[in-house]
């Protein structure tokens, strides 16, 4: 580990580091740093490119998270602007990061086993990793797909337009009868250019970009963005604001977890839980609205604290509503575990083995359901979570049931957390002024959103503006997990597997 410490600059979640303090490694040194760290059980939280000093080269950054030592490591290297050796064959969890870098900078990761565009946009540099001409239209999903050949093998294509009112994504199944051999997922239909829009900020729009990076993860993304700004501005927020952020984050988790359990019930045709959870999700959303006037938490989290304070009457009302909703949730959810026909649909379906989850860098409830103890609130705590500890809920089966059950465990933990925090809410201002950002620094903010680790990385330029801004939504890590979980499953079980991950399309596409 000491060897590792010498290679990367160590810091912690929500702290900024001077750019000059980040070691610029040789390419071999950089590769070794990543491979050694991953072999030691660390994760690649983010890997991204940045413009280099000369046009013929660029910078490659990696952020490694050591969950056991509660610290982060960052390193960079200078690579050729045309190509660099791919790390994916030796470290699968960077596969999508490398594809993303290839697409954004037109640099080719040599040796990448599955080098395809991620979001189907033009590169930021004018070069193209696939040698497409400038006049050639780039359309999402128009690409080669992995194909299985042979008698009785057939291909099923689903989306991008789906039967329900959901986001667009394209799914290609290679099937043998009802059995799925391979699933390939093509996204990018929701690409809006959020990271590009944040460059040059912070401006009045920046917080709104963060809030809408993934609409159902508003609080987690907004909190991560605010942590970035606050770390760079060296701003000290009040304990009251931190508590309220924590409460809002857990309310977001409650609403989504309850909604997911209802949706899982709906997908197996179990109506009672589906109907009740749909309503109870609304109760939790309304509690968020009680805090800030918006059901999805828009306007709640603001740089320097929170946008809205609470008085005692509102806290009392919130606690009362929480008790009612928690009671109803317990009834509706326990109905799932008590119904054998539901359990038969959940157990042993869509298994994601622990080692695969480690290799792919899975995060959030999906990782915890595969037996990994990964939770930013415990591993890289920030804000209120440094003072109030939430036990990590895990399960070892890795199937749909495990992912559902972990959600239920987290619902109970989050309810207790909110109850505890609201009963002893510290006094003080809810928002302090935020000054100018310090120049030439890098900051990483991690947050455990309901879907998993939300990661924001910002690098400021010499004027204290964002020179680069990287957002990693948990979905970015987890879509590969869903594709893996479908292997050798029945194609009719895809909806329930999909719902058990419930990943974001726009969070991936940004």
């Amino acid at each position: 580990m000491s060897r590792d410490g010498a290679q990367t600059a160590a810091f912690t979640n929500g702290r900024s580091i001077e750019l000059d303090a980040i070691p610029t490694l040789t390419l071999e040194g950089f590769e070794d740093a990543v491979l050694d760290a991953v072999a030691d059980g660390e994760r690649v939280a983010a890997m991204f490119g940045a413009a280099g000093e000369r046009a013929a080269e660029m910078l490659l950054y990696v952020v490694l998270a050591s969950d056991h030592e509660n610290r982060l490591g960052v390193a960079r290297t200078v690579i050729d602007a045309e190509r660099f050796p791919s790390l994916t064959p030796r470290c699968p969890q960077v596969h999508l990061f490398e594809r993303e870098i290839a697409e954004q900078f037109g640099v080719r990761p040599e040796g990448h086993p599955w080098l395809k565009p991620v979001r189907y946009h033009r590169s930021w540099t004018g070069r193209d990793a696939w040698g497409r001409a400038a006049h050639e239209a780039i359309l999402p999903g128009v690409t080669e797909f992995y194909r299985v050949e042979g008698d009785e093998v057939h291909e099923v294509a689903v989306g991008p337009v789906h039967a329900g009112v959901i986001e667009p994504g394209h799914f290609r199944f290679q099937c043998h009868g009802e059995q799925v051999f391979h699933l390939e997922i093509a996204l990018g239909y929701q690409h809006r250019g959020v990271e590009q829009a944040l460059i040059g900020g912070p401006g009045p729009r920046s917080i709104h970009y963060a809030e809408t990076a993934a609409g159902d993860t508003t609080i987690a993304h907004a909190t991560a963005y605010c942590q970035v700004v606050e770390a760079l501005a060296r701003c000290q927020k009040s304990a009251r604001a931190q508590t309220l952020r924590g409460v809002a984050l857990e309310l977001e988790r409650l609403a989504n977890h309850v909604g997911d359990l209802g949706a899982l019930a709906n997908d197996v045709g179990f109506l009672p839980t589906a109907s009740y959870c749909g309503r109870i999700r609304g109760e939790f959303l309304n509690m968020t609205a009680l805090l800030c006037g918006n059901r999805f938490g828009r306007g709640m989290v603001r740089p320097g604290g929170v946008g809205f304070g609470v008085d005692d009457a509102r806290v009392a009302e919130l606690l009362k509503r929480l008790e009612d909703a928690a009671e109803d949730t317990a009834v509706a959810v326990n109905l799932l575990w008590d119904t054998p026909s539901v359990m038969a649909r959940f157990e042993d379906i869509g298994r994601l083995p622990k080692q695969v989850a480690v290799d792919l860098g899975i995060v959030g409830p999906a990782a915890r359901a595969s037996g990994l103890s990964r939770d930013v609130r415990q591993d890289q705590p920030s804000g209120i979570f440094r003072f109030a500890h939430l036990p990590v809920s895990t399960y070892d089966a890795g199937d749909v049931f495990a992912r559902a059950y972990v959600r239920w465990l987290e619902i109970q933990q989050s309810t207790d957390f909110i109850r505890e925090q609201l009963s002893a809410i510290p006094s003080g201002e809810v928002r302090v002024a935020v000054g100018a950002l310090s120049p030439d620094r890098l900051v990483v903010a991690l947050n455990e959103g309901w879907r998993g680790e939300v990661c924001h990385v910002a690098i400021t330029d010499f004027e204290g503006r964002f020179g680069s801004y990287k957002i990693v939504d948990p979905s970015f890590h987890n879509w590969s997990g869903l594709a893996y979980a479908l292997r050798n499953q029945q194609i009719s079980d895809f909806p329930v597997c999909n719902k058990s991950f419930n990943l974001s399309y726009c969070g991936h596409d940004l």
């Binding site: 039967a163 045709g269 009672p272 109907s275 119904t339 026909s341 038969a344 379906i349 029945q490």
Partner: protein, 302 residues
């Protein structure tokens, strides 16, 4: 004459009501108000007024599928007696005719689905036919039991039961047949636990996915034929589970309508309290139904 008229009236007008009753029951279990009782009628009226969109890859098979299905199901409906009254058409061996009418309906539904060339519809057709391999023998065994019990080879005769009433010796096989037929009813009419009529997930559907490309009046025809089919299976099953009669004509007709609604409520309850089966376990359920009917027959011939 009035019997035939009432038979026709009920056969043509009542089926969509059953879907309304089922949906109301499900809504009640879910704590919801649910769609109006007559929503299926409104839907049919709406679809009749709509324009059709026909894919250019489809042929006449695609258009004729729903029409043949409706015609055959209507014909089958004329063979099944309601309550204690005779069916409008009855002849020796009409049970075979009945079974193959339903087979013909299935053939044209799946042919129309395959005609689209869509991978979804092909998948649905494959599932439909696979499960039919198991549900059809179950129906045949059930009809054999009823023929043996009643000594008649017309549907009207065998469904009205033996002249001397039921005895202890026929009770056991009839209970087995009732269970088997109820499972077949759920499977044939795409209800939970076999299929989910309210899902929007194409990959999990059986019957619904075969008609995804149909629209407007043709879709209306399909929905109406599906409602008719449920009604016919219900009328068939009621003879086995509730062979009651009062002797008064108006009372017996009301009794039949009441029993039919009670059956719809029962289906709604089943759909509300359990989840769908795994697709590959559906075969176990249908094999079970076939065995129930088969053992019923064995009990009679021992």
């Amino acid at each position: 004459m009035s019997t035939i008229l009432i038979h026709l009236l009920l056969l043509l007008s009542m089926p969509p009501l059953l879907a309304g009753v089922i949906n109301k029951t499900k809504a009640w279990f879910g704590g919801r108000v649910g769609p109006p009782l007559f929503q299926s009628y409104y839907d049919l009226a709406k679809l009749a007024r709509k324009r059709m969109v026909l894919s250019t890859t489809t042929t006449w098979v695609f258009r004729i599928g729903p029409v043949v299905t409706l015609a055959t199901v209507l014909m089958a409906g004329l063979l099944v007696p309601m309550g204690r009254f005779d069916a409008p058409i009855a002849f020796t061996g009409d049970l075979i005719f009945f079974a193959y009418l339903l087979g013909l309906a299935r053939f044209f539904t799946t042919a129309a689905a395959l005609d689209t060339g869509s991978s979804f519809e092909g998948m649905g057709a494959a599932r439909e036919v696979t499960f039919a391999c198991l549900s059809e023998p179950a129906v045949f065994f059930a009809l054999l039991v009823l023929a043996k019990v009643s000594g008649s080879l017309t549907l009207t005769g065998m469904l009205h039961g033996p002249a001397g009433g039921f005895s202890a010796a026929t009770a056991a096989p009839l209970i087995l047949v009732a269970i088997g037929l109820f499972v077949v009813l759920l499977a044939e009419n795409c209800r939970i636990p076999v299929d989910d009529p309210s899902t929007h997930l194409e990959l999990t559907m059986i019957h619904e996915v075969m008609v995804l490309d149909h629209s407007g009046p043709l879709l209306g025809v399909i929905l109406y034929a599906a409602a008719l089919k449920l009604f016919i299976f219900g009328a068939l099953l009621l003879h086995v589970v509730a062979p009651f009669q009062t002797g008064l004509s108006w009372a017996d007709w009301s009794l039949f309508v009441g029993e039919m609604i009670a059956l719809a409520v029962a289906i709604g309850v089943v759909e509300s309290v359990m989840a769908r089966l795994l697709m590959r376990r559906v075969t176990y359920l249908l094999t079970g139904a076939m065995l129930f009917c088969g053992f019923g027959f064995l009990l009679l011939v021992r």
